[in-house]
């Protein structure tokens, strides 16, 4: 028995050591890039202290203008998202809108569509002259391109705002829909009983109750828009409009202006931290409204009657623009020799043949993307599972730091993280630039918060008593984790793995600064093809990426449903 207790003591120490090791690992992962970012932003070429980079940032209109563009376009995206998503969430949650399930599924589909794929598709749809929407518009009016103003000009700051909003509104929708689902219907029912018409109830009772969620959603949409790289590079650069992310990217052209790039990253970082704190404060205060029982039965849904058509039209418009039209145009382009010409005599498999048989980048990029996706998802899942477990059970030293470090990357925009990683790993002791390892670190770090949230909610569902029982029977803490808890949270862990995998294979904004010829991914290969307007191959790669994503989501769906059974 003495030996058994000694073993237990030793293994208890082991889990403390594991915890301490993970704290150090996370600190290195998350804090080191930020440390080098700060140091570099204050250093001149002779490595002496300077404020010159910040001075240039403030004084040079070449930076002031992109910063202003970034701020107003992100705000416009936030407002657009709230404007569309708030009524959509209300319609899905409170009314007798037909096809609610289908709409929710489709909103999920636009959520997982890589935003830069949407931007590619919208070049083909909304190019002012050859874009298919404008071609149809000119044909309808019986005029030739250039003889009249286009219906949409996607190559503009507003075009960029529109496309960003199409793939950002699902965040706001989810926030609002969750809030609506959580709010008990009592107050609304009381309002209805007292004779208020539905619109009045919605405006005076429901809206104030979900306002915090909408504000939170606005801030998240703002942040999403601010940190995107692909969409502004594809849609705004051709119109001569820069945002902060495209500006930072251009500073990385050789010879890289690292001090300036680091200094230019700082506003993005500061804005993100401030907005996330604001969001936490706003969302945290929501508690006041959620007193009372569950919402009543479905029978009390607001009847839309004559408004059904406009309501459905709203969904058709938003999802048409974010899913149907883009997917349609990508599928069309992939099978046409000339994407802007009519179908007749234009059908061809040449782009498929080129991408999968001739283009030497395809195999390398697919391989790299796959290796990065699998390794980042595996390492990330193991890491967040350990972190979530240790920080939730609060048993060992460091659990407070663990949760903080695992969620901190949410405040680091992808391109800023990439600048920090580049600065950390292009010099000794650890030179990782040029290897897949540096991109791997970027993906793991970037996906930590999402994975952590996902696993945390799974572990919360497992009562510690089960582990205690195993511990009483002599199992070590780590053994209890692997033998008892892990099987119980298996589905959550698998879902986490797939989420990180999907997040990794679509990553562009960090990869664009970190890749080299040997370490290209599918996303940067597509970005390279864009610079020479090779839309056919881009469409083929887009469809491939979408197919992989949706197959994996079907797998997640299968596992999460299995859990319910």
């Amino acid at each position: 028995m003495a030996t058994s207790s000694a073993v237990r003591r030793a293994s208890f120490d082991a889990s403390t050591a594991v915890s301490a090791a993970i704290v150090l690992l996370l600190a290195a992962l998350v804090l080191m890039p930020l440390f080098w970012l700060a140091v570099t932003s204050f250093s001149n070429d002779a490595k002496a202290f300077t404020l010159a980079h910040y001075r240039q940032l403030v004084a040079d209109p070449a930076f002031a203008k992109p910063l202003w563009t970034t701020l107003w376009t992100s705000a416009a995206v936030g407002l657009g998202c709230v404007g569309a998503a708030a009524p959509m969430a209300w319609l899905v949650s409170r009314t007798d809108l037909p096809g609610k399930r289908a709409w929710r599924t489709l909103i999920l589909a636009s959520f997982v569509t890589p935003p830069f794929l949407g931007a590619f598709a919208w070049v083909l749809l909304g190019g002012p002259n050859a874009g298919l929407i404008n071609q149809a518009y000119y044909a309808l009016r019986g005029v030739k391109p250039f003889d009249a103003a286009p219906l949409v000009d996607i190559f503009s700051a507003w075009g960029m705002v529109f496309v960003m909003a199409l793939y950002t509104f699902p965040y706001v929708f989810t926030f609002a829909a969750n809030a609506l689902d959580a709010i008990p219907g009592d107050l609304e029912e009381a309002s209805a009983i007292l004779g208020a018409p539905p619109w009045r109830t919605a405006l005076h009772i429901t809206l104030p109750l979900v306002l915090p969620a909408l504000l939170g959603g606005f801030l998240v949409a703002f942040l999403q828009a601010m940190t995107l790289f692909g969409t502004p590079a594809i849609l705004a650069l051709p119109a001569g409009v820069d945002t902060m992310t495209t500006k930072i990217w251009s500073l990385f052209q050789f010879p890289p202006q690292l001090g300036l790039a680091a200094a230019a990253s700082l506003p993005l970082l500061v804005i993100t931290v401030v907005l996330l704190r604001a969001q936490a404060a706003i969302m945290g205060r929501r508690g006041y409204s959620v007193i009372g029982g569950k919402r009543g039965s479905a029978g009390q849904a607001v009847r839309l009657r004559g408004f059904t058509l406009p309501a459905v039209a709203l969904f058709v418009f938003v999802l048409g623009c974010s899913i149907f039209l883009p997917y349609g145009v990508l599928a069309r382009t992939a099978f046409l020799r000339n994407w802007s010409a009519p179908l007749a005599g234009n059908l061809s498999l040449e782009h498929w043949r080129f991408v999968f048989l001739e283009f030497s980048q395809t195999r390398l990029a697919l391989f790299n993307t796959f290796v990065l996706g699998v390794s980042a998802a595996t390492a990330g899942t193991i890491l967040v599972t350990l972190v979530a477990y240790l920080s939730l059970r609060r048993l060992v030293w460091g659990h407070r730091y663990l949760a903080f470090l695992a969620t901190a990357p949410v405040a680091i925009p992808g391109i800023v993280l990439a600048v920090g990683l580049f600065l950390s790993y292009t010099h000794p002791p650890l030179v990782l630039y040029g290897t897949l390892a540096i991109i791997f670190l970027a993906y793991v770090t970037k996906e930590l918060p999402v994975g952590y949230q996902q696993v945390t909610s799974s572990i919360r569902a497992v009562h510690p008593e089960l582990e205690d029982a195993s511990r009483i029977l002599g199992a070590t803490r780590l053994r209890a984790l692997f033998d008892i808890t892990t099987p119980l949270i298996r589905n959550g862990v698998i879902a986490t793995w797939i989420f990180i995998f999907i997040g990794s294979i679509r990553e562009l904004s960090a990869t664009i600064l970190l890749f080299t010829a040997r370490t290209k991914t599918i996303s940067v290969t597509m970005f390279d093809l864009r610079e020479s307007n090779d839309w056919g191959p881009i469409a083929v790669l887009s469809l491939t990426m979408l197919a992989i994503t949706f197959v994996l989501i079907a797998v997640v769906h299968h596992f999460t449903n299995a859990r319910l059974r």
């Binding site: 052209q253 040997r518 090779d534």
Partner: protein
């Protein structure tokens, strides 16, 4: 005295012989065996990706034992990537092709290139090869204007660059970027001497769509997205015309920039023998004729024949490239251009 002179002469002759041997490096069975052992060769090129892959396809058929990896980007981007990689001590590239000929001057000065003269290059005219044997012109093209024939009638098409300042072209123009493309850079350098920066400032007010690669504007006007291109590759225009796209080339009255695009092997190439096999292959009459016939390019190989339907170079007013004069101005040109047109 006499003996020393004879000795000196003998030494000079010997040096010449050695040099000749070093210069004429045909693909021998020994070189091929060594290349097969290396198994791979990495080629960074600025030529249009489909042209590059067409060349690669022929190479793979001829040398199945050597895996050829093609990395395509704009010349300036290729240059930046190589510098960034070398600075980080990454040696991935074996053979490089760039349409900014000044890159080769710089790399040669920095002693980054390997001396190698493919057999075919020995017969090239002197102005198309480095006298010291480090690089030679692999392909040439023109940076041309062009238009979409569905959108612009031939008699209304602009005749030259100055015509593009007419208000009627506002919002209809597309051009490439000298910060990305070597052809665009070379063209901008040549045109600036004729037209001045003042011209580019006026042009920027015409709401020009700014693309990156010179391979892109021909595709843009072929799709009808813009009506007239300010600069784009002549060879992409020939490819579009062969594919029956509604486009036509304009050789501007002010002159058309002629852009040579050399190829070289890096001294620290990870696959030095395979690099030499590839380099020799790239200059063969067969590949050069392929570049001309299918790629729409111009070749400086003496045996290559131009298709009859293409305007011969002698009938075009050319603005020849001048990499020596351009080299010290490259950074300034990019900076000024970006200030006017954006990134």
């Amino acid at each position: 005295m006499r003996t020393t002179r004879i000795a000196a002469l003998a030494a000079a002759l010997f040096a010449c012989a050695v040099a000749m041997q070093a210069l004429a490096q045909e693909t021998t069975p020994a070189m091929l065996a060594a290349a097969a052992k290396e198994g791979k060769v990495v080629w960074y090129t600025a030529v249009d990706v489909k042209v590059a892959e067409a060349v690669a396809k022929v190479f793979r058929a001829e040398y199945p034992q050597i895996a050829l990896e093609v990395e395509r980007s704009g010349s300036e981007r290729v240059f930046q990537r190589i510098n960034q990689e070398f600075q980080s001590n990454i040696h991935n590239v074996d053979v490089v092709n760039s349409s900014d000929a000044s890159h080769f001057l710089l790399w040669k000065q920095q002693k980054l290139l390997a001396k190698h003269v493919p057999p075919d290059v020995q017969r090239f005219a002197a102005q198309y090869k480095d006298p010291d044997g480090y690089y030679a012109v692999w392909r040439a093209s023109l940076s041309v204007m062009g238009y979409n024939t569905n959108l612009v009638k031939p008699d209304e098409a602009p005749k030259g660059y100055r015509d593009l300042l007419d208000p009627k072209w506002k919002g209809k123009l597309v051009k490439s970027h000298p910060g990305y493309s070597g052809t665009s850079l070379t063209g901008t350098f040549a045109l600036e001497k004729v037209l001045g920066w003042d011209y580019f400032e006026k042009l920027a007010r015409q709401a020009v769509q700014q693309l990156q690669s010179t391979t892109a504007p021909p595709k843009s006007i072929a799709s009808g997205e813009r009506a007239v291109m300010v600069d784009g590759n002549e060879y992409n225009m020939f490819i579009e015309i062969q594919a029956k796209s509604p486009v036509k080339i304009i050789y501007a009255v002010e002159g058309t920039p002629f852009v040579t695009s050399p190829t070289a092997i890096f001294a620290e190439a990870p696959h030095p023998n395979a690099a030499r096999v590839l380099q020799n292959f790239l200059y063969t009459a067969k590949v050069q004729q392929l570049l001309v016939n299918e790629g729409g390019l111009r070749s400086v190989h003496p045996d290559v024949k131009e298709p009859a339907d293409r305007t011969p170079l002698k009938d075009i007013k050319l603005l020849p490239d001048d990499p020596v004069a351009m080299l010290p101005q490259v950074a300034e040109i990019k900076k000024r251009y970006t200030a006017i047109f954006g990134n």
